[in-house]
Symmetry: C2
Subunit: 495 residues, 2 copies
């Protein structure tokens, strides 16, 4: 490994600004020095297990200080963290435990049945509740106070287009450059305070924890997303930056009574294009929205639209972060402006590949460029528009149909609060789009919605059926999972 | 080379924020897009010369937009910049031109006699006035829009203890990490504006130019330091950060009538420990002073004391920047707190060595640690106190003056057989060099010796006084003990 060496981040942060607040959770405030002490104590307990450098340790935890302490404890050991999505079924968890060669699974008591069911058949994995770990004796060990940016920090699973999850390898360097790229874009103020209500087992949440120690700013932790509580954190607790996806932002805006204070400076919006009416509502309420594009493979955002362009470049995800590069490829050549092609990105925040998946890695990364599988185009000024995640593409009668576009249309109807579109097999057209919508208290019929769509979309884009449902399938990051929509039909989840 | 790849900084900056101001000089304002266009045009002219990737190009210029354009033009070509101190004598310049294997020397008209005198005897060097370069035809070439952080960016000469100057190799990565380390320490605000009144041929000035393109903030350029003009830039032109050395700061404080506005957030103070009364005056006037320690070899600051500790830790240079590390070594072991030893530093901003000086490089850098030759200690909280620069370094008005270099010059005079140089306290410059010499039977006066020095040395290196003595203080090994020279004055050992 030839990567740059630097001090362990928490270690250095506790040395530089020991008294600054690192975490706020409920009524508790934890300084960087305390966090360092707690992580070190936990590391000594893990060392007694023994967990050693290079081991893989999974966790099935909630958003809480314990999770942060564990992540840093593993850094002090030099072990690799495998964050598990706590909404997965035991079989799905088991796959990831086995695939990552996990030695130890740390779980929260409330997930004990899933954890035990997942780990039990695997001889190589020991499962332990976090409170049990706390009771272990401390073992003497030499904490790693220096890190190599090329060392592995995290393995995070993502399904991608193939269906079978792959472990994305994220090095310290990937996290570092992601944090630096974000700071060069958003700036860095002494008064910054980041709200983490997105899961720490996803990049969106984990990246906030990394930024916190690198920047020396506090994270306010919410164990679950609640729009009122999130708004209150901005209004009364000095939060200056919040990471959200569209569905969360919509609920926050809906629940918002008074404008946010001036000190609130960034609503970092990821997880797919935002509907125009939502952005307009944000402008009206002076909410500084920064739209972003990123994925697990890029250790969070890699493209960001600053708020000054929020409406001028509506629908755009912005430009690549300072250190990053982007191109649109079509049939192996660079696409013209406005020509849709595959989004290809490069930068030190980009993963070096998938754990033990040589072929998938070679397919995805060529000459340092990551082929995202997502479709998009650049406008004449170089702003990126993500047309769709490739896997969701519907091809109907030879025409490309992009679900996001139809969803945006449905969402612009006053009676609709959520919308998901997918393709259904069709004898004549190959595929046709169908939609699932959640309506508000205003009455509307399927026919009225189709008429509404027909007014704004080409005929082939109008959903053949529009089903009313109580909720849409979303993952832990609250991102719409379009591929599961078709299950709704089979299970008759319509209301 | 295995370094990280990233977009050329100016190229990327002009893409991300084309309309933002990059430079302010007198009444002129230049945007990042304009700066990019000008640098590109200059690069095309240099290419026609031809200057190509890997060539060394020196400049003998003032602080002005041309200098910034040239530095970025050389980046677009991939040539290495050799900034020359415009106060050096022709013989000193010639040494650096030859040692760096410079292909082209670009000079300002006002320095034409020095430039021509320096370059003329060297067949390999072509000298050209900057306005002549501007008149060349543009040649087609492919600008380097992507850089490797391991590539060489600058060669900057520093004398060190040996007398003969060495070219410090500074890579893109050294400059990058220096800028990032500074941002993580000082924060980064959209309203930031940095005043550059320190020379661009020094690290202090050059580092401001690098930060400007990386952060996307304007630099206000002053061609010379004037305390009233500097104060005015803070009061009326929105400058938020200024880089100074003690002597400059003292004059600014002396000239200051009204307190600086709240928006002024950082007086970055380098170039040696500051006198306590000056710091107290700053506190009284609410001036946020950030004391730093750094050198050419660390691409500007590597240790910084934030203003909250300005008086609490008076005399301290602070703690190493986030990515950097520091230790004090005494007799090959880590020193205890408060024990004086050699300051040893490590970090990605540290040079990889001296140009074509394998032995000097191996002596200075061991296992990635740079042995600075400076003496200091850490207190119990880990704050650095620099006790003495490189045993005998004289810092005069922010310029490093190396006794060995002046002694070598004096010794080259036919009447001088021994020479010793040391620093004397000086109200205006902090220190000035004075010399003690032993002459042979040939007659020579102090004035003749000064004239002799003036022909070969920069003005600030010419000893303010030259005293004739019978002998110099030497230890048992016959080594000159420079620190005892000052006793000579008090004891009147002059002959």
């Amino acid at each position: 490994m030839s990567g740059e060496m630097m001090p362990n981040w928490l270690y250095k942060r506790a040395f530089l600004s020991p008294e600054r607040t690192a975490l706020e959770f409920e009524t508790e405030k934890i300084s960087f020095f305390e966090l360092h002490e707690r992580a070190l104590s936990l590391a000594r307990k893990l060392a007694s297990f023994p967990i050693k450098e290079g081991d893989y340790v999974s966790f099935l935890l909630k958003n809480c200080p314990h999770t942060v302490e564990l992540i840093h404890a593993l850094e002090y050991i030099g072990a690799v963290t495998v964050p598990l999505n706590n909404r997965l079924a035991p079989a799905e968890l088991r796959f990831q435990l086995e695939d990552s060669n996990t030695a130890l699974l740390i779980y929260d008591e409330s997930f004990s049945s899933q954890a035990i069911e997942a780990a039990e058949p695997l001889k190589s994995v020991k499962a332990m509740a976090i409170h049990e770990l706390g009771q272990l004796a401390e073992s003497d060990f030499q904490p790693k106070t220096e890190i190599n940016l090329d060392s592995n920090h995290t393995i995070m699973y993502t399904s991608g287009t193939t269906g079978s999850p792959k472990g994305v390898i994220l090095t310290y360097g990937n996290h570092w450059w992601s944090a630096i790229g974000s700071a060069l874009n958003l700036g860095l103020q002494e008064s910054d305070k980041w709200l983490c209500t997105v899961p720490m087992f996803h990049m969106s949440g984990l990246s906030i924890l990394m930024r916190s120690v690198i920047y020396g700013i506090p994270v306010v932790i919410h164990d679950a997303f609640d729009p009122d509580k999130a708004n209150q954190a901005i209004h009364s607790n000095g939060v200056t930056i919040v990471s959200v996806v569209s569905a969360m932002l919509a609920r926050m805006v809906h629940a918002l009574e008074n404008k946010y204070p001036e000190s609130f400076r960034c609503m970092l919006l990821g997880g797919g294009p935002a509907p125009k009416p939502l952005l307009e509502a944000c402008t009206e309420k002076n909410i500084p929205v920064f739209q972003t594009y990123g994925m697990t493979e890029t250790a969070s955002q890699i493209v960001t639209l600053s708020s000054e362009y929020m409406l001028k470049k509506i629908g755009s995800a912005g430009k690549p972060l300072f250190h990053a590069q982007l191109k649109i490829e079509k049939d192996g050549a660079i696409a013209e402006p406005h020509e849709v092609g595959e989004i290809v990105v490069k930068g030190a925040n980009v993963t070096k590949g998938y754990l033990r998946r040589k072929q998938a890695t070679e397919q995805a990364i060529k000459n340092g460029w990551l082929y995202t599988g997502d479709l998009g185009y650049l406008d004449e000024d170089g702003f990126l528009y993500v047309v769709d995640r490739r896997s969701d593409l519907i091809i109907s009668g030879g025409e490309n149909v992009y679900p996001a576009e139809i969803e945006a249309t449905l969402l612009s109807h006053p009676s609709i609060v959520e919308a998901g579109v997918t393709g259904r097999e069709d004898e004549r057209w190959g595929q046709v789009p169908i939609a699932f919508v959640v309506k508000n208290d205003k009455s509307v019929t399927e026919e009225q919605l189709k008429t509404f769509c027909r007014e704004q979309l080409a005929g082939y884009k109008v959903p053949k059926n529009i089903y009313f449902v109580h909720e849409l399938p979303r993952n832990g990051a609250n991102k719409l999972m379009r591929r599961e929509l078709i299950q709704f039909l089979k299970e008759d989840k319509r209301c």
